[in-house]
Symmetry: C2
Subunit: 144 residues, 2 copies
DNA sequence: TTGCGTGCAAAGGTTTTGCATGGCA
DNA sequence: TGCCATGCAAAACCTTTGCACGCAA
């Protein structure tokens, strides 16, 4: 079950937002992307949440530990991502090409090795969801 | 020498900004902090740059590779930091604590291993000087 | 019924942009 | 002289907040 604050209700809007993010794990979205996706998501019978509601709900979900929030996507927008309830193992880094701007999602257990090495030997706890590795993607490194 | 775009002039304002950041390596500042510092920096004879100029200059310096830009400090403001010209700085990673803001220079050959792994297996060429690993430093991870 | 959640609109703060002027090369 | 840089103010942008109403429990 999804954790939530003691004093909070389970509204339709809240459920829609959670459902949307849960269906797209290891992807991240800005508040506006979530708002847009829910506005155009078929069933017009269902009320889609206002942008302000999206922000407020995301805030709460972050506080409850259901989502990770990181700032620094395109134009410094905030991005939100569902936190898998699986074991901690799902280390997930982002590679960003400084030339063309493409964002690559990297699932690789070498990363996990590095994270635990840095934690044990250098006493630093990496936050994989906040960290972006910059460099050149395959295409761009060929063409430069 | 400070690198700069082919088509750019060396103005007083530009030099002040570079000088200020260069004098305070391994510290980072928001655009407003830089603006404020230069406005109150003694010699009133010298014209201090407008905030918009600070932003425009910082943008260029980042493009030229003289500065690092972090997004996501307090309140999602952008922070800028001078990139040391020392050779050693190019070969190591930076760890930045998301709680207290301290910047740690990490010399560790595990990093080199990861860089070559990602280059060979994921066709992505990491740029160590631009990449910042976020997380919690030893002190902060204890206290939270 | 109680009080959190919502929608709307307006405010807030950071960063960008337009335009005329100033200054470097 | 040509052209980029600057200053000022306004705009653009994302995000938060105030208020009245709606809805879950």
């Amino acid at each position: 079950m999804v954790k939530r604050s003691k004093e909070s209700y389970n509204t339709k809007q809240r459920e829609h937002i959670i459902h949307f993010l849960k269906d797209a794990q290891n992807r991240h979205f800005t508040a506006e992307e979530i708002h847009y996706a829910l506005s155009n998501a078929g069933s017009t019978a269902v009320k889609s949440p206002a942008l302000a509601t999206v922000y407020r709900t995301l805030d709460k979900l972050v506080k409850d530990g259901c989502l990770r929030k990181y700032i620094g996507g395109e134009g410094g927008k905030a991005c939100y991502q569902y936190i898998s309830e699986d074991a901690e193992c799902a280390e997930h880094y982002h590679l960003k090409c400084t030339n063309c701007g493409i964002l690559i999602h990297l699932n690789c257990d070498k990363i996990g090795t590095l994270v635990s090495h840095i934690r044990r030997k250098h006493s630093f706890v990496l936050d994989t969801s906040r960290t972006v590795l910059y460099g050149l993607c395959a295409d761009c490194s060929k063409n430069i």
